[in-house]
Symmetry: D2
């Protein structure tokens, strides 16, 4: 029995003995012809709003989460947290456990990084989202963060999806860089099947032949997903851009296409950053971007 | 000697005898370390405005070209031409020579199709853009159209690029579906090297693994191109969408990211269209879209 | 009425008036549910052998075409032609009209290049294959070459496909770098529909995210094509390799997977080549490769 | 201090205090300009042979691992194990923990599956390789299997790579479906940095636009990797094929290109398989394939 969106749900195959369930308070969700069910907006027609503390993702306001790629030290994080809050961000992002392509790259501060994020959250009131990489870490994350992020490289780490589903915190679920929209929706289905319906889908760029950008932001795939699911959609313009100069345009394009949330990397001194130094915005540039996002949101009947 | 943007230009290798040219009215453009030169905004810093009759592409106004995928008959074209003009389009698009994947699909009306476009142009005052596929057809096109389009499948048909360069009419140059941004810019360089600087670059979606959309509109690649060239940029949201429901969002995303022009398929009865019936908008839907584009353009300091 | 493989064929839609044709010598080929028909091995079950002068492609012997990427001068071509013949090649390849990504790269010698190929052919007895790029050039090619090649960048230049179909010479049809197997087969269908059945399909690598090789040789796609068509299949290991060191392994893999023909770039002094200098083999390396191909062909019941 | 290939190794940055190490038995491996070091054949010039019980991978003999996609029951596994052994396979493969795209697909028998594999191993003498998905499972795997497999979807699950590195068993490391050759080598570097040098790299197909096959087997990428590393290379022809009819050709191509090992799915009744039913070979077809592999291996100076 799943307890999902205030309902009791049984996901069943047509040939199972669910027909004997006579309790009218239980909804029987027969496994569909489509490969996914619980994430589908045919099953749940009203858009889901995901609450991260008192921030609501999926409502009229476009929510912006901002902060450094990696937590480096307390001063860095608190400086950025205050700056992005002032500019209009609603959530603080920061990586403590870092999935790095090379074992010789900075691997993150681990639990110490989460503690720094927690302190920055207390100081600013911003809830915190951070990436979890290991099934063994859910308890640690529950102590420090308000939303768990699944990164692109673990998007099909199915055991991690299940553990994060059980942990119950809201989830920011990135699309794997080679996952189709259907596969992406199915990774969310894994989480919902554990009874955790607070999932935000995050487009962060796919792998293509093009090398002028780090990844190819798939605005079309993001829109296609939105047409099929009740879950809110986030876009990360920083990783596909790879270069600072592109971030504003990609962020604005995502909002224009209907994104409910943005995830943006901001660093007090990008050129000194221990990771992603090419693509992080300065606080000043972020403030300019926020103003552009607000103007655009207004023009399409939303706020930011 | 190229006559380009009002200057006399010689493109030369450093080791050539261009040093003997002493005429101060001639600009010597030494072949650069970058693979392209004439399209680069390092060489020509001011953005180029391409004039198609009295429509200016690359100025503050976002120009919209709209019309059917394929010219089917005169009534169809004139009906659509009037409707898209009323809604705010500035250019009429329509295919007379159609590059179809299958030899069994409708191949277009050929010259008769161009004549119909010409008549619709005369009736509405809208200039016409249409795709040319064969090096032997430039004279025919010069009789009927105001702008020649190079399609994605002929993007690296270098003999066609040269002929279109010589023909002198403004060119709408689509990006090949597997071309990098650098390769795309080099296809424009072929045209400029013939002395024709009136080129608009058009992003129309690249081939990726994703099948939820027909092609993957590469908003990032479009922005990356814009950062490197003085030529105006167009986006075609219809072909990457593949489905009507996605067209509005992709069009808005492209404008938000900085597109100077949009190319949109509109058909009076899309469900009866002889090609691309899934992705063409009705005139009513196009009018709604134009209003959304205008509101968005205003929010980012442009008009439409 | 097509005259194809010794039969008279009418390709028709089921609803057309072909039912009135009572001449028993005419085969009526009703347009199929599959997107292609004439290239399908459901329609023509026996494998097609394509004759280029007295060389038969599609028979038990694996045919190797070798020669320089670009024709540079007569000595270069004749030196290579003799060397590759001695090593066991059956066809001479060489580019006279070159589809170059950059307009600043060597564009080929044009008709003069074809004349050089013709002389090398006369000297060695090897038939010649060379790439045609422009619909206006079929008559010139018919004077000098024995097989016309359609390159990857013109794979969906449909007017060129039709002209080459009409010209009647055997065709080496490369797969476009972003074409699916189905689209590739349809480009051949265009040629067969002009009554020219002498088409060899050539896999030359597709565009993917991988940059360790120039293109990704799609051995799987080549095999998938072979399972669906009666036409012979060629593989070009030189272009996907991009680097000399990879060419042997890719050539052997293609033969092991069932290729009927190989197309290999050989240059007397690769390091001085005007194009593709990284991937051309020396005559010595080519001879070693031919010996490896012969041993492998024997092991799988073929010759080379 | 790593203990790797019989040496004591320190991986260091040039600016670290490794210069004070004067013990001549310790090799100081300064972090290189290339992104990887320990996997490079510049650092270790002799090819590594990975021992799985008494089977040696990377020697002259092409090693074949075969067995069902998923362990379903004891009879199934033992039947297949005996059949593949008889035909010439040296290792038994089988999935107990299954990374399935959909949560509604068969997820594998878990530890019970490993027990069945262990029994089949005891009965036939074949060592066993099976996929591990969760960092918490290394102790269980050490009880039952002889080689741990990292699947494509966990190829950049860096915590899992580290745990498997620590566990010490030989590793079959699949390439992520969107990983470049360089990224693939770096995932192996993660394992070697834990002191575990027994890694076999496995190409299993990458994600591309082509849908005629399930994935695109990247023979070129496999060869490019082999040119850069001392580690043995395996190819999995079953997953990229997606269809039984293609498996033979892809297996032969991989051997011809230099693969040291093959991983092939075989099921007693493929049509009834709980997963991958389209691509598993029957025991009879596998026996035919083994004979073809042996003939081919002989022709290129190897055995199988």
């Amino acid at each position: 029995f799943l307890d999902l969106y205030g309902k009791k749900v049984v996901v069943a195959w047509p040939d199972e003995y669910v027909l004997n369930i006579t309790d009218p308070s239980i909804e029987i969700s027969v496994k569909p012809k489509k490969p996914y069910q619980l994430v589908s907006n045919e099953w749940k027609k009203d858009p889901t709003k995901v609450k991260v503390k008192d921030v609501e993702i999926g409502d009229n306001k476009v929510i912006v989460a901002a902060g450094p790629c990696a937590v480096e030290d307390e001063e860095q994080v608190i400086t950025v947290a205050k700056a992005v809050k002032r500019a209009g961000a609603s959530i603080l992002r920061g990586g403590a456990y870092k999935p790095r392509t090379s074992p010789y790259s900075f691997q993150g501060l681990g639990e110490k990084g989460l503690q720094i994020l927690k302190r920055a959250s207390e100081e600013t009131g911003l809830p915190v989202v951070s990436e979890i990489m290991d099934t063994r870490d859910t308890e640690i994350f529950k102590k420090y963060v308000d939303m768990m992020q699944i990164g692109a490289r673990n998007a099909q780490n199915f055991d991690l999806l299940k553990e994060v589903g059980k942990a119950g915190l809201p989830v920011l679920l990135k699309r794997g860089m080679a996952n189709t929209v259907e596969e992406w929706l199915l990774t969310a289905e894994y989480i919902l099947l554990e009874g955790n319906g607070n999932v935000v889908l995050c487009e962060r760029g796919i792998r293509t032949f093009e090398k002028a950008t780090r990844f190819t932001i798939d605005i079309g795939g993001m829109v296609a997903a939105k047409l099929q699911t009740h879950l809110p959609i986030c876009a990360d313009p920083s990783h596909p851009a790879g270069k600072r100069e592109l971030v504003h345009s990609l962020a604005l394009a995502a909002v224009a296409a209907g994104a409910d949330m943005l995830l943006i990397e901001v660093h007090p001194h990008p050129e000194k950053a221990l990771s992603d130094s090419e693509q992080q915005l300065t606080p000043e540039s972020f403030e300019v971007l926020m103003n552009r996002i607000k103007a655009l949101a207004n023009a399409i009947g939303r706020t930011a």
